[in-house]
């Protein structure tokens, strides 16, 4: 198994883990983390899939990933600011539909 395939496979794995946490976790911070894990998965996939052809490594996917990281940092900053505002305004860092669930996710799976 080539290392590129390994990277791409790990990327897919991270994506799935991210979706799982995004749907099931109630705490907004965890949802933001889940989005970040998904983003890393997508970037790994991009780099891994770009290197799969063999021969010299293609620099284009890497340039795209750098752009993607910038986008992802801005998105995370906005998301964290929103989480803070929600926690200040409503007392809980969770969406109303998730509020009955335990925020620490011990029981509320």
């Amino acid at each position: 198994m080539s290392s590129a395939l390994l990277y791409a496979g790990a990327g897919m794995g991270l994506l799935l883990v991210g979706v799982w946490a995004l749907v099931l976790r109630a705490h907004l911070l965890r949802k933001v983390l889940a989005i970040n894990v998904m983003g890393s998965g997508a970037f790994l996939l991009l780099v891994g899939a770009g290197a799969m052809g063999g021969g010299p490594v293609d620099p284009v996917p890497q340039a795209m990933v750098i752009t993607g990281i910038v986008v992802s940092i801005s998105a995370t900053a906005l998301a964290l600011a929103l989480v803070l505002r929600i926690a200040y305004a409503t007392g809980k860092a969770a969406l109303p539909e998730d509020r009955e669930r335990d925020l620490m996710d011990r029981e509320g799976r």
Partner: protein, 479 residues
């Protein structure tokens, strides 16, 4: 003078001017209103420049910084792009004039609104002119982030929840799109749309990335059953923001679905039929929910869910008569942007006047705000698809294409959906003509707010008359 003007790179200016304006409004918060409004006019002027260039010279292409595709970024303006640019310019100017008056009582909100709105406009103009799937991803994210921040501008708990839900959905959609981009690049070694169209050969290596991208975009467009985030976000935002979100932002991701569809022309009957069925479900679900709402802005937001469904009816109809079905769908998108923009502006004016937007407490609003109510009614005419409005042209094209292919079921859906639309519009108009038993506070509404809503609604009706000139612009774009 005119040669000097014609030589300007309007396509780049249409993106650079709003970006510059956003920065200026951000560093000069005290003058944000003046700076914002003037840069809105300049941006609209640049968009007109692109449209005029297209009309005189045909489709335009610009290699940003002199670096062409495949490595550099190419901007392309074809018929579909300029229709969308023009739509953003008209709705954008109307909303800007409205917002100037709207934000006077909220001096703390205005310096935040203008930079975000101009960022949003820059992202929209960049999205409509991008010609590679990765640059489209970046513009999609820019648009999503500024749109979410605009929703959060309201500052109350429900609006913050709406914004957060919108952000999570939007990021999930963008990531699905990005995975599609990665797989496309892996399969074909390019992200340029023209090159992709040449190299794409169908099969699983096209179907998987295309499926991921379209699924992500549907999530961002808010097609049933992915619409749950839409009404809270659009309904709780400030009125000018709601008009922008419902009018322009959801159209941008729909435009991207169309762009991908026209590039790859996917084969098979299954996916178009699925999209059509989801569209039909959206029409019924959205309309019924709109009828059940107690608050005016939520009614208008659910109406967006329903009207977005119409745009997807074209997919199953595009088999035999692609031209007619696609033109209908695109024209519906244009007229919905005008009509829904006007409707949200009118709802905002009513809310400013009465301090609330309970539908059954509208309390003879027709006496106090005849202009606003006329705007609401005219926009409703276009949404319901009554002649001679732009909505009528779009629905008529879809109907004709359905009848020509003997697909009567789709025609029936279009007609029943129109009746449902008329029902919820008249429900609002009915309460506007009845007296309420409760006493309500009354505030002055600036004339600029009423007039912009009315002119935008008139625009939605007038779109029906310019169809013979607007529709031929799409020649060469449709598959």
């Amino acid at each position: 003078m005119s040669t000097w003007l014609a030589a300007l790179p309007w396509m780049v200016l249409a993106i650079a001017i709003p970006l510059l304006g956003a920065l200026a409004a951000f560093v000069q918060p005290r003058r944000a209103q003046v700076i914002g409004l003037s840069f809105s006019f300049l941006t609209a002027g640049a968009a007109v420049g692109v449209v005029l260039d297209f009309i005189t010279l045909g489709p335009q292409q610009h290699a940003v910084g002199g670096w062409g595709a495949p490595l550099g970024i190419d901007l392309v303006a074809d018929g579909l792009s300029i229709l969308m640019l023009g739509m953003s310019a008209v709705v954008g100017v109307a909303v800007s004039i409205y917002a100037r008056a709207y934000f006077v009582p909220y001096p703390d909100k205005a310096p935040r609104f203008w930079p975000l709105w101009l960022f949003l406009w820059a992202a929209l103009n960049a999205l409509f002119q991008s010609a590679d799937v990765f640059n489209l991803y970046v513009t999609l994210e820019l648009m999503g982030l500024s749109a979410v921040a605009l929703v959060a501008l309201t500052g109350s708990g429900p609006a913050l929840w709406g914004a957060m839900r919108y952000l999570l959905v939007s990021l999930l959609g963008s990531l699905a799109y990005l995975v599609g981009v990665a797989l496309l690049y892996h399969a074909y070694g390019t992200v340029d749309l023209t090159l992709l169209a040449e190299r794409a050969d169908g099969g699983l290596q096209l179907a998987v990335p295309l499926g991921a991208m379209i699924a992500g975009l549907l999530l961002k467009t808010g097609l049933f059953p992915f619409h749950v985030w839409l009404p809270p976000a659009h309904g709780s935002a400030r009125a000018p923001v709601s008009a922008l979100l419902s009018g322009l932002v959801v159209k941008a991701s729909f435009y991207l679905v169309l762009r991908l569809w026209f590039t790859f022309v996917p084969e098979g009957e299954g996916l178009p039929l699925l999209l059509g069925c989801l569209g039909a479900a959206a029409i019924f679900w959205g309309s019924i929910q709109a009828l059940r709402q107690k608050r005016l802005k939520l009614l208008v937001a659910y109406s967006t869910v329903a009207q977005l469904g119409y745009l997807f009816i074209a997919f199953p109809l595009a088999g035999l008569e692609p031209q007619m079905a696609w033109s209908g769908s695109i024209y519906l998108a244009l007229s919905h942007a005008f009509a829904k923009g006007a409707m949200f502006l009118a709802a905002g004016a009513i809310m400013t006047q009465g301090g609330h937007d309970e539908i059954d407490e509208l309390d003879l609003v027709v006496d106090r705000m005849p202009l606003t109510l006329a705007a609401f009614a005219l926009a409703g005419i276009s949404l319901a698809g009554l002649p001679p409005s732009g909505g009528f042209v779009g629905k008529w094209l879809l109907l004709e294409s359905a009848m020509a292919q003997g697909k009567g079921i789709w025609a029936a859906i279009i007609i029943v959906g129109g009746l449902l639309t008329a029902t919820y519009v008249f429900r609002v108009l009915g309460f506007a003509f009845t007296r309420s038993e409760h006493h309500h506070e009354r505030h002055e509404v600036p004339a600029a707010m009423e007039w912009t809503a009315l002119l935008l609604a008139l625009g939605a009706v007038l779109l029906g008359f310019v169809a013979p000139w607007a529709l031929p612009l799409l020649d060469g774009v449709l598959p």
